[in-house]
């Protein structure tokens, strides 16, 4: 084995030489725009992971800011939704959920706190696993489901495949396009273009963003998750901004089409409908929540159980959580390092805000990888 065969260069989408060409193109484009900084937003925790993991920010031109928007589903799960899960758990209902949801703080308690008080919480890796749990017991099992289009389709598929009668869903699923709408409508927003998440666009298709881009005069480019995918998409986005091309482009053609996966879309909308709902730290997003349609009432934990959250919501908000800037971070107005709690009172082992809980949260990722430190100067 040699360093070359073991290195990252062998991977097609991880060629540092090609990356340098793309970052040079980015620098030229920023210069052509004659204004700095140019702010671009991505809306996906997996994009942030890749950007941080490969240290891409240190090689971007100084006049280009790439920030993360509301792209972490766990982070935008509202306090009230966590309270519903906690209340159900404390009422003795068995809860199955994704691992990151367990530590997420509610108004006064997290599922982990409920677990410490004796509630039954099972961490699952997929919706299928939650149904398997329900199959081997007679007691009710509630799948506390979170995530964007990608995991919502999986939840829909489960409901369409006749799960056992003791299974139901507490949906905290969210729909990303309305959140982009909300960011674009903020009067103080500086976002000039969006990178859309490749895996979600596999389902929705990139055509979905065309109308949005036209109305907000803000181009959208769908991007994959390898470093070169991201850099190439950023180049395309700057070109579109320069050329005043307010449409949607596909920089992930090996996976994404204009129409998307029609069957997955049909399943999604047969089970879910978009409803107005609160996103943590951001506020009510019109059409931002995916709730079960009436036809699925029997499988809807909100209709099936009386969920009493009043006991949880009386506790006063702590002084620390009042100072948390997660909401402003998620709409791209400030960065984690602007928050006085970041890395001091708010740490991965004791998170104050939701962005520090999930491995897809901006604060957690910046804490782990150093965010955008000026590392270029070190020899």
């Amino acid at each position: 084995m040699s360093a070359e065969t073991g290195g990252v260069a062998e991977l097609k989408f991880r060629d540092p030489r090609r990356a340098r060409e793309l970052t040079a193109a980015l620098a030229r484009l920023v210069e052509e725009l004659h204004r700095a900084p140019v702010t671009l937003m991505h809306v996906c925790g997996t994009h942030e992971q890749a950007i941080a993991r490969f240290g891409l920010r240190t090689s971007l031109p100084p006049g280009l800011r790439v920030i993360m928007g509301p792209g972490c589903p766990v982070c935008v799960t509202d306090l009230g939704e966590v309270d519903e899960g906690v209340a159900l758990a404390l009422q003795g209902v068995r809860i199955a959920t994704y691992g990151d949801m367990v530590k997420l703080p509610g108004s006064s308690k997290s599922l982990a706190d409920a677990q410490a008080e004796g509630a039954q919480i099972d961490v699952v890796y997929s919706a299928t696993q939650a149904v398997e749990l329900a199959r081997v017991t007679d007691e009710p099992v509630v799948f506390f489901a979170s995530g964007f289009e990608t995991t919502a389709v999986a939840t829909a598929a489960i409901l369409l495949s006749r799960p056992p009668a003791n299974f139901s869903v507490l949906s905290a699923h969210k729909y990303v396009p309305p959140a982009m709408e909300a960011v674009a409508c903020l009067p103080e927003t500086r976002v000039e273009g969006f990178l859309a998440a490749g895996h979600a666009a596999v389902i929705t298709g990139y055509g979905l963003f065309e109308d949005f881009a036209r109305r907000h005069r803000t181009p959208v480019v769908v991007a994959g998750f390898e470093p070169l995918d991201i850099l190439a998409a950023l180049v395309r986005l700057l070109e579109m901004i320069r050329d005043r091309e307010y449409g949607a482009a596909n920089a992930y053609p090996r996976c994404v089409t204009r129409e998307g996966n029609r069957r997955a879309q049909e399943s999604l909308w047969r089970v879910f409908e978009a409803a107005d709902g609160p996103w943590r730290g951001i506020g009510v997003i019109p059409g931002g929540n995916l709730q079960l349609r009436k036809e699925w009432a029997a499988m809807d934990a909100r209709r099936r159980f009386r969920i009493d959250v009043s006991g949880l919501q009386q506790a006063a908000q702590s002084e620390l959580s009042r100072r948390c800037l997660c909401g402003k971070i998620m709409v791209g107005l400030v960065e984690p390092t602007d928050c006085p709690l970041f890395g001091r009172q708010c740490l991965p082992e004791s998170p104050v805000g939701a962005c520090m809980v999930s491995s897809e949260g901006t604060c957690r990722i910046w804490y782990q990888y150093g965010g955008r430190p000026d590392l270029g100067g070190t020899a």
């Binding site: 360093a3 073991g6 540092p16 240290g55 890796y125």
Partner: protein
């Protein structure tokens, strides 16, 4: 409640920052700075005897499964102690001790297999077990078997893990992450492609060659066991008050380990090695030491992976070829990612 919590948690044994906090606040603070090794939290203690140092180290071994691809608990118990002595610069063990605690019901055949493995590894390392102890405990009072070994050896010059200076090169003696992923795959019965095997091996011969080639230019050594290369480098950077810049493209990682790491979302730099050392060398001696390592069977894949800088003391910076980022120190136990 103390910062550690009320009870010991799994993370306090994982080799990361949580473990260091436990050792520092409970043992080092409580037992005082009497010994040179304990307060410095190095791999072993160095006791001055005449113009030399008697280096002393001890370690207890528990691992699941007891037999894994590439090794077993017996080989691990010999290598771990021999390697802890070696990275202090004491590469010729005078003697080892071996204490074994066994659970009622443990198969004699397995015990004999472990003994044979220990004997063979001792022969490889030129070490001898000179005294020992055996205890048997009731069913459920421990899980199978626990082995403790201790070792003593002389060193003319102790190589600390705190000796890095700006300009020093960082060498790793071979591919990283092999042991951690081999054991993880065996423990969780993961069906991974390729032949993942532990690298567990006694390093005293290899490090003797490195010290012969580098002499006083070898500024620091450490074996990156639990917590992996990331943890070892963090400790060396903090103690030496230097920044370490790693070149990711130079890091030797076997393709099967890389594949497993991408699949599980666990960084190969965060998992244990049991047959590798990380060595700091003054720049002008780096090539000489590298050649000496590569001439040895256990050092064929040795590589210069980074440089020490004066900026950002205590941090480890990874140059990915696309940019730079901080290399995080693992906090507690590693969990495969969810999605």
């Amino acid at each position: 409640m103390s910062k550690l919590g009320d009870t010991v948690a799994q993370k306090h044994g994982a080799g990361g920052s949580a473990m260091r906090a436990l050792i520092e606040s409970v043992f080092v603070a409580g037992l005082g700075p009497a010994g040179a090794g304990l307060a410095a939290m190095d791999d072993g203690a160095a006791i001055p005897v005449g113009d030399r140092f008697l280096v002393l180290t001890t370690d207890s071994y528990v691992i699941k499964p007891l037999f894994f691809p590439g090794g077993d608990i017996g080989r691990l118990a010999i290598c771990g102690t021999v390697n802890d002595l070696s990275v202090m610069g004491a590469t010729e063990p005078l003697g080892l001790t071996c204490a074994v605690i066994i659970e009622v019901g443990f198969p004699i055949a397995d015990l004999e297999r472990i003994r044979d493995s220990m004997r063979a590894t001792c022969a490889e390392a030129g070490a001898t077990i000179v005294t020992g102890d055996t205890k048997v405990m009731g069913k459920g009072e421990l899980d199978g078997i626990v082995i403790n070994t201790a070792g003593v050896a002389f060193a003319r010059r102790v190589v600390p893990d705190s000796g890095l200076r700006p300009g020093d090169r960082i060498i790793v003696t071979g591919s990283v992450g092999d042991h951690g992923f081999a054991v993880m795959a065996a423990r969780h019965k993961l069906q991974l492609q390729g032949a993942l095997a532990s690298d567990v091996a006694p390093l005293n011969g290899l490090l003797r060659a490195a010290l012969a080639a580098g002499g006083d230019c070898v500024s620091a050594m450490k074996d990156p066991t639990r917590g992996g290369l990331a943890s070892a480098l963090h400790e060396m950077a903090a103690k030496g008050q230097v920044g370490i810049v790693l070149d990711e493209a130079c890091l030797p990682v076997r393709p099967e380990v890389r594949a497993a790491s991408e699949l599980l979302g666990i960084d190969p730099l965060h998992v244990a090695n049991e047959g590798k050392a990380v060595i700091g060398v003054r720049a002008d001696a780096a090539d000489r030491v590298l050649q000496a390592l590569q001439a040895h069977t256990l050092g064929r894949d040795a590589a210069i992976i980074g440089t020490c800088v004066a900026e950002r003391p205590g941090s480890v910076i990874l140059d990915t070829g696309f940019g730079r980022r901080l290399l995080a120190e693992p906090e507690g136990e590693l969990l495969p990612r969810i999605c």
